[in-house]
Amino acid sequence: MSKKHIFPILLAICAALYPVLSDDRYIMNILIMILLYATIASGWNILGGYGGQLSLGHALFFGLGAYTSTLLYLNFGLSPWVGMIIAVIVCIIAGMLIGIPTFKLRGPYFTLGTIAFAEVIRHVTLYWRDLTNGSMGLNIKYEPSFAAMIFKEYEYYYWLILGLLVLTTLLVHWIDRNKMGYYLKAIREDEDAAETLGINTSKYKMLAMMISTGITGLAGVFYAQFNLFFEPESVFHMNISTEIALIAIIGGAGTVYGPILGAFIIIPLNEILRASFPDIHGMNYFVYGILLIVIVILTPNGLLPIITKWWDKIFRKKVSKTKGVTKYDLESQ
């Protein structure tokens, strides 16, 4: 285990111990939302950050995950633990179906394509009332049990989403250090050049889409079980897609820990703004916009690279010439 992994591991251990030390439900609630958005943004990061495919329709998979497991639970009594697996499969299939036409588009056209699909599904959910209960949303009865993934104590939700984030981060870390990460970065930098090298760009973009949508769907299931109520606007809305992308970009898209940092900035900021300006609707988005402009001008790669640089300076380490990219050995494959 290298030295640079010690800090994130210690941080994860401290985070896991937090519920033992404090029982403040308000703080715990905010922390759960931070961890939830960090997980979704980390999933988005695989496609958007590493692969350079700027999706602004990821709320589609968040909502799809929530609706799939909840409908299975409400209509067939299927445990959300099983529903989770089905939701991931549904989201992966949906991701593939969306990827087939949209991956033919590049740049802003791809982004517009993802928005269009998300909006279509949002409207279908709103108007297919027989199945989804339309704008009335879905209510899950509060009957705490492990099988129903409904807990009396908040800390179980906390540990569950923390575990999901740790697993997602490990997966992103593996991708970052493996050939898939290199190929995705190559596609992000120049898709034509990647093709001339023989990289199967369609395959890797699709793989990134599948992993990314699967994680987002999983997070959707957690959200449904945590909130016990949701409706189309609260899970499919474009604001959620924008927020997911913003978190990753502000923290540092295409880095392992950037989306986590982004979530720790954006979610508390959201809470502060909502509490400080209760009468001004959309104040948070106004501030996000300003924040994004400032960050794009000052540090286009997000905040994490700057923090890493400061960290290296403080501890007098030599700054890596490769900007965090490590050498991989194709021979080992």
């Binding site: 001339t196 023989g198 010439k321 194709l330």
Partner: protein, 234 residues
């Protein structure tokens, strides 16, 4: 080795290649010459599968590659060194070279090929841990050729080798291409620099407005009056 038979290629309604035919025999350097917008890059993008032809046929070692995906064509050993180098600037020189060994048939020869590249361009070994974006234009071109060689090419297509480079450096790189040819790799050299390209080529095609205007042995073409007037300023 490579045969192009009456291909046509259009971008939307604009046709850029018109019934083009050419051949590249094994073990030779064949130059594809012409001014800007003559159709040179479109031709090699069609060979590499990046652009799909609307009609005609492209075969490599007898196999029809017209409808193949770019990665399948690379797997056969047709490698393009793209115009403008297109290195990945956030990666080191060595990482860029390793990325060239993506294809299945190239992976087994990584050690041998990277040694060959370093022997050919010693500066790359000296600066292997440096970011590609921090290298000079000439060193970047060496890296781009090296990355192409890492793919175990049978046919190496080099697009605009001389672009933005000092003439003396171009001469040096062209000499290296002769060495690569002597190792048994067929080369298709796509260039605007007619004089220097003809000097190392066996055969050449001159494109004008998406059509082959002139073709012949490189030595003979240097004496062609049209070519002399239009491209050599003589």
């Amino acid at each position: 080795m490579l045969k192009i038979e009456q291909i046509n290629l259009s971008y939307g309604e604009i046709q850029v290649l018109w019934d083009m035919s050419l051949q590249i025999p094994e073990g030779q350097i064949v130059a594809l010459l012409g001014a800007n917008s003559a159709g040179k890059s479109s031709t090699i993008n069609a060979i590499s599968g990046i652009e799909k032809i609307s009609s005609g046929r492209i075969t490599f070692q007898g196999k029809d590659i017209s409808k193949m995906a770019p990665h399948e064509i690379v797997e056969l050993g047709v490698i393009q060194v793209p115009e403008g180098r297109k290195l990945f600037n956030f990666m080191t020189i060595e990482e860029n070279l390793l990325l060239g060994a993506y294809s299945k048939h190239a992976r087994k020869d990584i050690k041998k090929n990277i040694r060959r590249v370093y022997d050919m361009f010693p500066i790359l070994e000296e600066r292997k841990d440096q970011l590609a974006g921090d290298m000079s234009g000439g060193q970047q071109q060496m890296c781009a050729i090296g990355r192409g060689l890492m793919s175990n090419p049978k046919l190496l297509i080099i697009d605009e080798l001389s672009l933005g480079l000092a003439p003396i450096l171009v001469q040096e790189l062209l000499r290296t291409l002769t060495t690569i040819k002597d190792e048994g790799i067929t080369i298709m050299l796509v260039e605007q620099n007619v004089k220097q390209s003809l000097a190392i080529s066996n055969y050449a095609y001159v494109l004008e407005n998406g059509r082959v205007a002139i073709q012949g042995d490189a030595a003979q073409l240097t004496e062609d009056p049209h070519l002399k007037k239009a491209y050599l300023g003589m």
